[in-house]
Amino acid sequence: MTPLQRICASSSRIVISLLLLLASTTTYAQGFLKWEADTVPLFRGFAVSGDLAGLLQLQLSDYGQYEAALKLNLHDQYFPIVEVGYGKAHHKEDEVTGISYRTQAPYYRLGCDVNLLKQKHTDNRVFVGLRYAFTSYKVDISCRPFVDPFWLWDTSFGVKDEACSQHWAEVVFGIDASVMGPIHLGWTVRYRKRLAHHDGQMGKTWYVPGYGIQESSRIGYTFNLSIDI
């Protein structure tokens, strides 16, 4: 592990620990799954949201995603959610390795969040949740032709429209705060675990739509703008 990797890993652990500590002080976790007995109806409406972090990532780097979600509000306590996105990566001929990588495909997540706050019927939420996610995508991988350094044969490298797929699960922690009327801002931090994957005949893939870069995307994040309907 390089020093940079160690720093990243340590920083991530510290930040997550602090956030969990903060969550534990702002909530009363005991019995958070208990149904709050009151006169508030079960169905409290919908919220639609979009992920601004993925959009920004797409503008600043050569991969990212558009993502929207539809969340159902059940008694301000349970929030079944469907997240649909479209992930893209277009890495043009790497300066060092000469490898190009291209993929674009939709992805889907299905799950549920639980509001951790003791007073649930407010405009703000601190929540944990689970997601099951799936994507089926095709990749183009190519490398500029090069000469075999020892044998001097001309060499080419690549595949086109290689079919790949991945299933994964996510544990989500996040907050959602009302900023103006029905408009909310919030973020989530996600721990991802691959459940199954098919990477095609090349051995591995690089960017997986909705998951991110393989090997280094165990921790992900979203920054959401949502509107209550």
Partner: protein, 171 residues
């Protein structure tokens, strides 16, 4: 409404998390050698295959695309196993094995190795590599008694013996 007061710091916390998690790293395998491993064997009195040690000196070379010879191994002495590279993307490699003893007695054999080349991708940050599936091997038999495929899959894993080679008794 206590949480309303926490909303802003928590949102900024989210931004901080985003920056911290934005660290990127390059994760290429440390071990990227793809080599063909030979094991030197002989048969004992019962006919069982046992590891042998080549008492004489082994040189290995090949012919490149430009027609020139190039050395793959120089002065290998006392070998029970050895390794050579494979071409990245050529269906058959031709290898010359030259074995000589201290009396300057020598034999020269040619080994032809047919293989299927499999491009292997790790990441856009990692160099292109090829794995190989060994399909067939044959040789002349001046100094080599037998050569056979033991494990046909040549990858980053450097531990398996891919080819078993039996030299004639005088070695």
């Amino acid at each position: 409404m206590k949480v309303r007061h926490h909303g802003s710091p928590l949102l900024w916390g989210g931004v901080a998390v985003s920056f911290l998690l934005a660290c990127s790293s390059i994760e290429c395998p440390v071990q990227t050698t793809v080599a063909l491993n030979y094991g030197v064997y002989c048969r004992d009195a019962s006919g069982a295959e046992v590891v042998d040690t080549l008492a004489d000196t082994l040189y290995i070379w090949t012919r490149r695309k430009d027609g020139r010879d190039t050395l793959l191994m120089n002065r290998g002495v006392g070998l029970s196993s050895f390794s050579t590279t494979l071409s990245y993307n050529h269906p058959e490699d031709t290898i010359i094995m030259f074995v000589t003893d201290t009396f300057q007695t020598w034999t020269l054999d040619t080994v032809w190795l047919k293989k299927t080349d499999i491009p292997h991708f790790e990441s856009v940050d990692c160099s292109a590599h090829f794995f190989h599936q060994l399909d067939a091997v044959r040789s002349t038999h001046y100094g080599i008694d037998t050569i056979m495929i033991d494990n046909p899959s040549v990858t980053y894993d450097t531990t398996p013996t891919h080819l078993r080679i039996f030299f004639k008794n005088r070695y």
